[in-house]
């Protein structure tokens, strides 16, 4: 397996926001989901996940609530706030512009 791609902070934020936009999850589940959805290409550095989550919470894009998990343990579930939804849309738009631009440079249309 090739080395997992290191994720830049900004993109990690985007991925987290997207992941929990579908349903509220706890930190571990978020990491697994990102791995799954990216077909195992993106392996989140677990050490960077939690600081990112706390930062996003502090900034108000996501909110947390303690709930019961699968194995009946208490876990902290994160979900998007309405401001977060807006932020996600913006970030996604930005990403698409950026990657679109890079694509143009790499593959100039003939």
């Amino acid at each position: 397996m090739s080395k997992p791609t290191d994720l830049v902070q900004g993109t990690l934020d985007l991925l987290i926001l997207k992941t929990i936009s579908l349903e509220a999850m706890h930190g571990w589940a978020i990491a697994q989901r990102i791995r799954q959805m990216s077909a195992e290409v993106l392996q989140v550095q677990q050490g960077s996940l939690y600081p990112a989550l706390h930062r996003l919470e502090q900034q108000g894009w996501i909110e947390a609530e303690w709930g019961d998990s699968e194995n009946n343990r208490k876990a902290k579930y994160y979900s998007l706030t309405s401001a977060g939804k807006t932020r996600l849309a913006e970030e996604q738009h930005q990403w698409e512009r950026l990657s679109g631009a890079i694509n143009l440079v790499l593959n100039p249309s003939s």
Partner: protein, 899 residues
């Protein structure tokens, strides 16, 4: 919304006790368990599953810290941790911490008290609507201004002026106020109908006076109570409304109570009642003054119309005033050349407007400088205390070396140490400030009690408002900055190696700071000692003023027989009766009556005419006037120099006579004998001078050469509706006062005696301000020196005990104790000399500001300065040499054995 959420998160993460991070530990633990379970599911054995989970996670502690940092709570969390640590250490040594907090509380409290007074007297706006629009009226010339106006002038002006949206007028009087059977004097203000409306003051109960209450003279016996008076005399009962109160015997209906906090427009006084101007005539016997343009007795204030500046209003007002005067004198259209001198002079007078947003206050003028001086003194005292604390805490830093070293070794940054020490000081300072808020009201009341009650009961709105609280907070922070910064700097500069070493501290840079803090303390103490000396000397000079007559054993008491409805003709007989009774008592050496109380600030001035002399401006012919009974000069023991005293035979049927003071004679009759000369008052020259008396002070004790015309009480009965008894006596004043009271009561049953005081008391009252400043300055100076010397004593003890080892070695090598003491003495002397320099410099800079408060003493008085310097140096040297001697006497062997 987002900001709210951010803030809430911040607070949650900071203050959730124990778990100040939103359950971070539990969250991470959960993750590790899930990962471990996943590993197990992949087939790893238990232990391996666990370690693999840990490994792929990374260093848990570090991640946790990063999470906490991500929440941006580090500085606040650190501060709270430091705060908890500080509190615990204070609880372990409560006495030390308590002492510091108490010192700060007293110091900050004193400052807050003075500031509260400053605020109330100098700074605070009147509690009325838009106070900045108000302006107070003066008339005259820039050198000679008066603030009294006549009623006709006021009416004309108010109607015709365009620059003001409203002009009010008032006069304050002391009247007898009877409720039910009891009667006491009340401070009453006669006000124009628009008074409350223009000021924008509403009623707390009932209604306030309006224009409809001021239409017809004598037809509106209604009164509005002040809130305080309502509480005090009526108990705040609603039954007060509609009840009746008798002013000078006439019943008035109470129609309302003014809103709480409104005390009129004079700062330092509060009328008890407001009644319509229309009732003026009923407040006294004799003619009313409403119709007379000759009597100037009202004060005026106006609200500037929107958009009009004070300068523009002044110009318009002066023009209007001139026009009104011309009409009044019947000289409009008369060319200037045809006018008489005095008419020309009157017309050249202008109107001046003072901003009145903060109220008018003679209190302010008198006390402006003293309050600022007081503020400077308490501020300096607090500064000295803080410098003291700074030395104290600096030396404590020495003792905490190992604690600091350990923290540094564990990875704390120097900035963190600095912040920690700063926080400790801040905590103490804030505690001190909070305690000060409790202490301050007491101190304020004490200060106010020292104010003279000159023009009626002193009333200051002393409720602490936001400004005062803000001030207290600011001062607390400033204190923390002063005494916290130096120790914190010291602490953060300690080298690790140095810190962890056991044994004596070497003489590092650290020991220089405390000594550097010494000099300013002593320098400032010098300033305070000098100030105390100057104020004290001023007081001494004032107390020994020669007022032209002996002040001992002279009793004064006032009555107002006119208020009891006694017939006018019966009043002279009443006085004669009482005087005769008093004369028959052995302890009474002499007794008389007079209209004005000397030295009390009250006065009457008249324009007089001396036939044969005309040139000069109107003011040249003003003199002071006093009305006295025969025998008054004998009672006051003012010697008669020429001619004769007023006599009982000078009555209403004979020619009017008068006695003049030497200075008046010298001014108006420089080249001839005044005896037999005529003086005119009010248009006809009909007063003959029969005697000349030695100069005596009239209303101002500092001016013993008053130009006074003494007229006969018998010949001016109208002015004796109220009068003051003067009794020269032997023995106790209290006894004589009691006898007088009885004598009066036996003559007229219901007549109360008021303002009973000795001449000395009247005199002392005049210098209440100087006395207050002198005593306070003296007290503060003593405190300051005490603080500085105790600080020095402690510091030298500490310093010397830290150097026991060094001393022991020196002693064993042949030094004598005297050498060591000499060492200390030299260091101290240097500090004290530096302090002297600082102090003298400060004194030179500040001296001009206190000139106003001094009398008979220059602010550069060499004796006082030398004395102060001597005291300071002596105290300092003593404080340093005593502990040094103690330490130096220690036997060297004992010291070395302790190693």
């Amino acid at each position: 919304m987002r900001v709210w959420r951010k803030g809430r998160n911040l607070l949650h993460s900071v203050f959730r006790s124990g778990n100040a991070d939103g359950g971070l530990d539990a969250e991470l633990r959960f993750h590790l368990e899930m990962e471990t379970a996943a590993n197990r599911a992949r087939g790893m054995p238990e232990n391996e599953a666990r370690t693999e989970a840990r490994r792929s996670f990374g260093m848990v502690a570090q991640v946790a810290e990063e999470c906490r940092d991500a929440r941006r709570t580090r500085p606040l969390r650190d501060a709270i941790a430091d705060g908890r640590f500080a509190l615990r250490s204070y609880l372990r040594n409560p006495l030390g911490a308590a002492l510091v907090v108490i010192t700060l509380a007293l110091g900050i409290g004193a400052n807050t008290a003075v500031f509260t007074m400053l605020n109330a007297v100098l700074l605070r706006s009147l509690p009325v609507e838009k106070p900045e629009q108000l302006a107070y009226f003066w008339q005259g010339t820039p050198e000679d201004k008066g603030n009294s106006f006549s009623y006709p002038f006021y009416r004309q002006f108010a109607e015709r002026s365009r620059s003001f949206s409203g002009v009010i007028a008032w006069d304050g009087r002391s009247l007898s106020a009877g409720i039910g059977n009891s009667s006491e004097r009340a401070a009453v203000e006669l006000v124009s109908g628009n008074y409350f409306a223009v000021l924008g003051v509403s009623a707390a109960a009932g209604r306030v006076l309006g224009v409809e209450d001021d239409r017809r003279p004598g037809a509106h016996p209604v009164a509005v109570l002040s809130y305080n008076y309502w509480q005090r005399r009526f108990g705040g009962a609603t039954t007060a409304l509609g009840s009746s109160i008798r002013l000078q015997g006439m019943p008035y209906e109470v129609i309302g109570v003014a809103e709480p906090g409104f005390f009129g427009v004079r700062v330092g006084q509060s009328p008890d009642l407001w009644i319509p101007m229309a009732m003026e005539a009923s407040t006294k016997t004799g003619e009313g003054w409403l119709d007379s343009s000759g009597w100037s007795w009202l004060q005026m204030m106006g609200r500037l119309a929107p958009g009009i500046s004070r300068e523009a209003a002044e110009a318009e007002a002066s023009t209007l005033a001139r026009a009104i005067l011309e009409e009044d004198l019947g000289i409009n259209g008369v060319p200037a050349t045809a006018l008489e001198d005095w008419q020309r002079a009157r017309l050249s007078q202008k109107i001046f407007l003072d901003e009145a947003g903060r109220g008018i206050s003679s209190l302010r003028e008198q006390f402006r400088t003293s309050l600022w001086v007081l503020a400077a003194l308490v501020g300096t005292l607090l500064l000295i205390a803080c410098l003291n604390l700074a030395s104290l805490f600096s030396s404590r830093v020495e003792r905490r070396r190992s604690e600091i070293g350990t923290r540094l070794a564990l990875g704390a940054s120097r900035g963190r140490i600095f912040r920690q020490f700063c926080l400790e000081s801040l905590l103490l300072s804030l505690l001190g400030g909070a305690a000060a808020v409790g202490v301050a009201p007491l101190a304020t009341h004490t200060l106010v009690a020292l104010l003279p009650a000159q023009e009626g009961p002193a009333y200051l709105d002393l409720q602490p408002d936001a400004t005062v609280l803000l001030f207290t907070a600011a001062v607390s922070l400033l204190c923390a900055a002063i005494f916290g910064t130096v120790p914190a700097l010291l602490a953060s500069r300690i080298g690790i190696g140095n810190a962890l070493k056991a044994g004596d501290a070497t003489t590092g840079r650290g020991s220089r700071y405390p000594i550097a803090l010494l000099s300013p303390q002593f320098g400032l103490s010098l300033v305070m000692l000098a100030a105390a000396g100057l104020f004290g000397l001023t007081l001494v000079r004032l107390q020994s003023l020669d007022t032209g007559f002996p002040r001992e054993s002279l009793l004064l008491a006032s009555v107002e027989p006119g208020a009891t409805g006694l017939k006018r003709d019966a009043i002279p007989a009443f006085y004669t009766d009482v005087l005769t009774r008093m004369g028959s008592i052995p302890e009474v050496k002499a007794a008389a009556i007079g209209r004005i109380r000397p030295l009390s600030g009250g006065l009457m001035r008249e324009s007089i005419q001396v036939p044969g002399r005309t040139a000069g401006s109107p003011g040249d012919w003003d003199c002071d006037v006093q009305y006295v009974s025969p025998g008054w000069f004998r009672t006051l023991e003012i010697p008669l120099l020429r001619g004769r005293d007023l006599a009982a035979s000078d009555d209403t049927n004979s020619t009017k006579v008068g006695v003049v003071s030497e200075s008046l004679a010298r001014r108006f009759f420089p080249d001839r004998d005044p005896i037999g000369q005529r003086i005119g008052m009010g248009g006809d020259a009909n007063v003959f001078i029969v005697g000349v008396v030695r100069d005596a002070a009239y209303s101002d004790p500092k001016q013993p050469h008053a130009e006074v015309l003494y007229l006969s009480a018998i010949q001016n009965p109208d002015l004796f509706q109220q009068a003051t008894f003067f009794i020269r006596h032997s023995g106790s004043a209290k006894r004589i006062a009691g006898i007088l009271r009885t004598a009066v009561r036996e003559t007229i049953p219901d007549l109360p005696l008021y303002a009973v005081e000795t001449m000395n008391e009247v005199f002392d009252e005049r210098f209440a301000r100087e006395r207050m400043v002198a005593w306070l300055a003296g007290g503060f100076a003593v405190l300051a020196l005490l603080l500085a010397t105790i600080g020095l004593y402690g510091m030298v003890s500490h310093w010397a005990s830290m150097r026991r080892r060094e001393f022991g070695i020196r002693l064993s090598m042949g030094a004598t104790p005297a050498d060591l003491v000499g060492l200390v003495a030299r260091k101290t002397a240097v500090s004290l000399l530096a302090g002297l320099g600082i102090g003298l410099g400060a004194i030179a800079a500040l001296a001009p500001f206190i000139e106003d408060l001094l009398y008979g003493v220059s602010s550069r008085n060499a004796v006082v300065l030398a004395g102060a310097a001597l005291v300071m140096i002596a105290a300092g040297m003593l404080a340093a040499v005593l502990p040094a001697r103690e330490i130096a006497r220690t036997a060297p062997m004992e010291v070395l054995r302790n190693e």
